[in-house]
Symmetry: C2
Subunit: 106 residues, 2 copies
């Protein structure tokens, strides 16, 4: 299971997709396909966790990469861009790279 | 460390705060204070992980609750609302509740 930790010094991609409820499952399927076929085989990929909002209007990909350089190298690959094309036709998205600052648990 | 798993059947709150870069650390501090002082003591709280975007314009709280009911009960508590007030003065935010659909790891 992916773990969240500030000690790991990973870079986290959080990509928030805004979707029509009737397209939410399609966006999930496209992201899982992109991850299984391409992302997980690229250098520096650690994990991807796909989330569906209960209200139907968002999908979030919470993904961990070893470094920013690995993430940028992925973005420049034609096969990664190919996976994004059908997503861009049915969603808008807001992605940023993050550091984990702290985690609090009971 | 918080773990991400579809088996756990937790509810995940992903709250994306849009911030001015010079307020980013302040937002992180307010969220950590709210979590330590109030959230972690409420029934059903599992974890909160605070993330800062590298570009300075986002803060994300990735939090896990036992159930949607526990999350809603928290939102109705005056002390939780009290913590949100200063955040609302310096940020806008977009929060939704999510289910984990799948995780992929190398």
């Amino acid at each position: 299971m992916p773990t969240i930790s500030k000690q790991d010094k990973l870079i986290t991609l959080i990509n928030v997709f805004t979707v029509q409820p009737d397209q939410q499952q399609k966006v999930v399927d496209l992201l899982l396909e992109a991850t299984e076929k391409t992302m997980k085989h690229l250098p520096g990929f650690i994990s991807a966790s796909i989330h569906k909002s209960v209200d139907g209007v968002r999908v979030v990909n919470y993904a961990q990469w070893r470094s920013r350089e690995d993430f940028e190298a992925m973005r420049n690959k034609p096969e990664a861009q190919q996976h994004m094309k059908p997503l861009m036709e049915i969603t808008t998205f807001d992605f940023h790279l993050y550091e984990v600052i702290d985690t609090v648990e009971v």
